[in-house]
């Protein structure tokens, strides 16, 4: 394990009445692939957004540690590459222009980012599409370009939110291969996924999240030992026996908007329908 790069200390993040993260603490070491595993609403995306500084914690601190110093999380954005859940490509720009835009914002010259783009696009078999507008791209192509965009400026750490979602088997394998290659080169990756077998294939360390709490932190092998189970799926189920939260994050809309919407929403009494039938 390398040095601690990120430190999440006793963080609580709430949205209205919902605690998306509760007193959550974790340290992220450099040079490892850390898998965030959890069901919908577990708090994976909230954690990733807290790490990027997009959300501010209600309690606790998120620190970026560099050269032994505690830095504000805003400085972390300079060294991070992010692949969000929505690929976030501009469809009127070409794939290369999308990549170049973010590299420029990171202060990386076009020649350097082009070199890196070529390397990663060849690894992901998409180099022939770099000069095409992304409008007609398939979900898989968009995902690959978004991944290259996250890598082209040479980040120290990579945050990937469901990087293989929507990809075919071959493309998903290419992405996993690239992530492992990055790790070989000393990179740090935080890899959010629903898929346990994928986490097992790629990650050195797994964080199992459930209802905003950290239920497990360790290697896949340790997970089996600690839970005394024979498969990761059994281990996961054992750790998350309580029901996942049904209540979604409250929508950020005002009282009047909500009342107005209700006014034009017909209330259907299903018991009456059954009786009628």
């Amino acid at each position: 394990m390398g040095q601690i790069l990120l430190s999440v200390r006793n963080v609580t993040k709430t949205f209205g009445t919902l605690n998306a993260l509760e007193n959550f603490s974790v340290d992220i070491d450099s040079g490892a692939i850390i898998g965030l595993v959890g069901s919908n609403g577990a708090g994976k995306t909230t954690l990733l957004r807290l790490l990027c500084g997009l959300y501010r914690p209600n309690q606790g601190k998120v620190l970026f540690l560099k050269d032994g110093k505690e830095n504000n999380i805003d400085q972390f954005r300079e060294v991070v590459g992010v692949l969000p859940e929505s690929t976030g490509l501009y469809h009127r720009l070409t794939a290369w222009e999308n990549i170049r835009y973010y590299s420029r914002l990171h202060g990386v010259s076009d020649s350097v980012s082009w070199e890196r783009t070529l390397r990663f696009s060849k690894a992901l078999s998409i180099s022939n599409d770099l000069m095409r507008h992304t409008r007609g791209f398939s979900r898989g192509m968009r995902q690959k370009i978004a991944l290259i965009r996250a890598l082209a400026h040479g980040p120290e750490i990579l945050l990937l939110d469901e990087p293989t979602a929507g990809l075919d088997v071959t493309s998903a394998r290419l992405v996993r291969k690239l992530v492992l290659q990055l790790k070989e080169e000393g990179g740090t990756v935080i890899y959010s996924t629903h898929n346990l077998s994928e986490a097992e294939k790629v990650c050195d360390r797994i964080l199992i999240m459930h209802n905003g709490q950290l239920r497990f932190d360790g290697s896949p092998a340790n997970l089996l030992i600690e839970t005394e189970t024979s498969s990761l799926e059994d281990a996961y189920i054992q750790l998350t026996t309580d029901d996942a939260r049904i209540k979604e994050k409250e929508e950020s809309e005002g009282w009047f908007s909500k009342q107005w919407r209700q006014l034009f929403t017909r209330k259907t009494n299903y018991s009456n329908i059954k009786e009628d039938e």
């Binding site: 805003d74 992010v82 501009y90 009127r92 720009l93 973010y102 914002l105 202060g107 978004a146 950020s252």
Partner: protein, 410 residues
């Protein structure tokens, strides 16, 4: 640090402009419509109206002429009817019939058998003709017949008046036109340039305010709510640029689009006016360099405020539709002061008007186009406008700090 910030702002605005220009609809919204709207209003619309008018005037129409007098009394009228393509049928009226009794003629007009009925009755005691025109104002042909009859009756009346004055041994000019100007407009001491400035002071501020408000709506929505809706904002917020740099980059791009749109619309307007109106009014207003510079300051602070407000409200919205629903009605907040400012008398104006949001800048533009420079007015409108622009920018920057920006309806 500043260099890095300026670089980020440049990169963002450059990308936004490229992204915006690549949409072919931009060509229509920002270039073609602004360039062609005024030539279309000033050239094409009058041409269409004239052609419609000619068509209506060349239409032969059938009417009834009804009177208690013999047809021979109406030589003047009947010859004019022929000249005006009115085909008449004469009916004699009984003396006991009421002129405004429309019962008999109503069906003929409603069924388009005839377009109108002219009833004339002569009172030999007073030597006065009474007339009554029956027509249907909802039918174009009937309306046209009514207009032609009114014109012909007016000519007939003039003719009768002249004859009666002559028969009385009087001079027509002395009776009908006893007061005449020595030479038209002789007493106006305003120069052509001043007159132009006066006219432009009513037109330009109104248009500039409307253009500023409307031109900024679509790009503001596209670059804020559009980004949220398409899910591209989250990635952008993860980049190392600050929220303020992001706001300024986008604001700069919208301002460039608004500026291009205003310049093109102004070009179209000047081009249209210069071909439509000939004569002295077209001379450019004589403006001092201070007036021109202050005019640009006025437009700039107004644009800062308007674009910042539009971006702030659009950024609050989670979809393009939501942003459009908010910004559409908000245009009234710019249009109403713009119209209102046209009616405020600039002479002896109270100072507080120059502190009223939006109205102050419009009044300033009006004053400056008339080459009027009042230091107290300038101080108040610049100071108050800067405060409003700063407030709008502050509000916009607050919206760019919202946590829910990363949430997209998709």
């Amino acid at each position: 640090m500043l260099k890095k910030s300026l670089r980020s702002i440049y990169i963002i605005s450059h990308k936004e402009l490229i992204d915006y220009v690549r949409d072919w609809r931009t060509l229509i919204a920002v270039v073609l419509v602004p360039l062609l709207i005024f030539p279309a209003i000033f050239f094409v619309l009058p041409l269409v109206l004239q052609s419609e008018l000619n068509e209506r005037q060349s239409m032969p129409l059938d009417i009834y002429l009804e009177s208690n007098q013999n047809i021979t009394e109406f030589d003047f009228l009947t010859s004019k009817f022929g000249d005006n393509l009115l085909n008449y049928t004469f009916f004699e009226l009984n003396n006991d019939i009421n002129l405004n009794d429309t019962k008999n003629s109503m069906d003929d007009i409603k069924n388009s058998n005839i377009s109108s009925v002219l009833r004339l009755s002569y009172d030999s005691n007073t030597s006065i003709w009474n007339y009554y025109i029956i027509y249907d104002s909802t039918q174009e042909s009937s309306n046209e017949a009514y207009q032609r009859i009114r014109n012909i009756l007016s000519q007939w009346e003039d003719n009768m008046t002249s004859e009666r004055i002559k028969n009385a041994g009087l001079k027509e000019d002395e009776i009908l036109d006893p007061l005449q100007p020595a030479e038209s407009l002789q007493g106006d001491i305003a120069t052509a340039a001043e007159q132009a400035g006066f006219v432009f002071s009513f037109i330009i501020p109104l248009f500039v305010s409307i253009w500023t408000a409307t031109s900024g709506v679509q790009p503001s929505i596209d670059m804020t709510a559009g980004e949220r809706e398409r899910g591209t904002l989250e990635t952008l917020l993860c980049s190392p640029c600050s929220r303020l740099e992001l706001l300024l980059g986008k604001w700069l791009a919208v301002t460039c689009i608004v500026a291009v749109s205003i310049i093109l619309q102004l070009t179209g307007l000047v081009f249209a006016i210069s071909f439509l109106i000939s004569g002295s009014i077209l001379q450019p207003p004589e403006l001092s360099i201070y007036s021109i510079l202050l005019f640009l300051v006025a437009v700039s602070v107004f644009a800062i405020m308007v674009v910042a407000l539009e971006m702030a409200l659009a950024m609050r919205s989670r979809s393009v539709k939501e942003a459009g629903s908010i910004l559409g009605p908000m245009m009234l907040f710019f249009f109403l002061p713009a119209i209102f400012a046209q009616f405020i008398n600039l002479e002896s104006i109270e100072l507080f008007w120059f502190a009223v949001p939006a109205v102050n800048v419009l009044l300033a533009m009006r004053e400056l186009l008339q080459n009027e420079i009042h230091l107290a007015h300038i101080f108040v409108w610049i100071f108050s406008s800067l405060i409003y622009a700063a407030c709008a920018t502050w509000y916009a920057s607050r919206q760019f700090l919202r946590e829910d920006l990363v949430e997209s309806i998709n």
